[in-house]
């Protein structure tokens, strides 16, 4: 399976393509695509030129990024492994408080 990931133009934050073409901040809300549908989904995100600075496809399962770039994409998904108080991992922790 594939997911579309992007960096938001205004602040560079990591985004994913979610349902109905929306861009979401959490991987948990990302939509997974079959190989055949992935390129079209990517094109849809790349067309949002004032919303994103970059976008590309990653290998993913419902559990998270997989494959050769799994570590890099896990770090993008969560935040720096050396600063657990920063990035999406910290935002997720805040929400649980």
């Amino acid at each position: 399976m594939k997911a579309v990931t992007a960096n938001r133009l205004s602040d560079g934050a990591v985004l994913y393509a979610g349902p109905n073409g929306a861009l979401v901040e959490r991987f948990e809300h990302a939509q997974l695509f079959e190989e055949a549908d992935a390129e079209a989904a990517l094109s849809g995100v790349l067309a949002q030129k004032t919303a994103i600075a970059s976008a590309y496809l990653i290998d993913a399962a419902t559990s998270g990024p997989v494959g050769r770039e799994a570590l890099r994409e896990a770090i993008r998904k969560n935040g720096p492994t050396v600063r657990r108080d920063l990035g999406k991992q910290a935002e997720a922790a805040d929400e649980r408080l």
């Binding site: 133009l9 602040d11 560079g12 934050a13 570590l71 935040g79």
Partner: protein, 553 residues
Amino acid sequence: MYRYDQYDETLVKERAAEFRGQVARRLSGDLSEEEFKPLRLMNGLYLQLHAYMLRIAIPYGSLSSAQLRRLAHIARKYDKGYGHFTTRQNIQFNWPALIDVPDILDDLAEVSMHAIQTSGNCIRNITSDPYAGAAAGEVDDPRIWSEVIRQWSSLHPEFSFLPRKFKIAVTASEEDRAAIKVHDIGLKLYRNEKGDRGFEVLVGGGLGRTPYIAETVRKFLPEKHLLSYLEAILRVYNQHGRRDNKYKARIKILVAADVEDFRRQVDEEWLKSDRERLDAPLSELLRIRRHFAPPRFETLDDESAALAAARGEYGEFDRWVATNARPHRQAGYAIVNISLKPIGKPPGDIAADQMEAVAELCERYSFDEARATHEQNLVLPHVKKDDLFAVWRGLDDAGLATANIGLISDIIACPGLDYCDLANARSIPVAQKIAERFADPDEAADIGELKIKISGCINACGHHHAGHIGILGVDKKGDEFYQITLGGSGADDASIGAITGRGFASGEVVGAISRLVEFYKENRKTGERFLDAYRRLGPDPFKEVLYVDASTV
């Protein structure tokens, strides 16, 4: 310190205003990302894994308390409360929003700072000796010449689109604290046998994919001809440097191909140039020199009774003085190194509160001067020995009194895969684990000078080639592995480390380093550094202990 003149002030403010307009056009869609990317890079703004990263130039590493306080303000208001000092005496912020960057640049301009030429294929921030103006034996203050080069190279129209980036470092001491031999151009100011001052000009050093130690292209260049000669080098490079292959585009490739031919071309270019027009006029040199007049040092005995008493009473302070303080040219003063390598923390990171603590100390005790070093530490260059205890107390309160300068836990590490879009592997966690393993200060002191340098990819921002022990993170089918190099140095005895063999899994690196250190301790001569023992014994016995019992791949 150098103060901007009206020209500098106008230039920096206009550049910030220009970038504000470019950001607005990007946000509105008038500029595409492809069009905008080179514009943001010209202003030091990268897009990394989690966010944008803004790299701010610190010319020759020199900072005032006002600048440190402004950096703290930026860290707090626009970022996440900290910054990261780099191996080129710059500072990076890891989380700025694009929409805030114009405001950040305005804030920087108010304290004579900017992010111009911190990226792109241009002449980057000029780096120098962090002990400039304080070290004994200096033939001149290298910041004067660094500032001359900064002014010449800022927005130089002919050299704004070079084949690749271009880095210049300047020193004026026998001891090289600026790693001049691994720069595109390294300049060493000295006096010849006649007593005249001039530069040894080294060209073609560099790390990255293809590391080289620089070649001496001119043994003695009278100082007054510095700019015309630099112009000749850059012209030859601009014309003949390869633009067809990014990996062969640095000047080191041109120099290494035929250094004699390169020297001939530079000399030809130089001799036909209009040197009178290109070289800095004496009046401007004198104007710049006045900005670097020595501070008003007090006339003091070199021995400080207060220092001796405090060292006798406080063991931790005594250790810190022995490790982090260095002799000063002026009797009764010392150079203070502030370690940004607390055990277990990311090398080079500093919190906003800590920036302010350093600002306070530099204003009160060091003539309002601080320096960033290429080893990712800070320096208070002019501290009275009588004040060392107070400075240490202030640093200790701020969590900045780690006594490990030059020791095994004073590790250079690039941001690596925790932040960097180019990285293949993480660097910071490896540095943290090694520092934690050697956290015992007595053990670290016994090991002595040992420079470990870690890069998360072949671009070598962590200078691993120049580490006594170098560590290079590589990706092997999605897993992090680490190649070890031995015998590198970025100092006077510069050398490129040799790869030992197969890489280690991340969990094996600390054990591998421990085996190297144990072997060194068992086989060193009295007072012999790790690097010298390696050079005496050769690579084979070190490789043997490195790979014994290791499940390497």
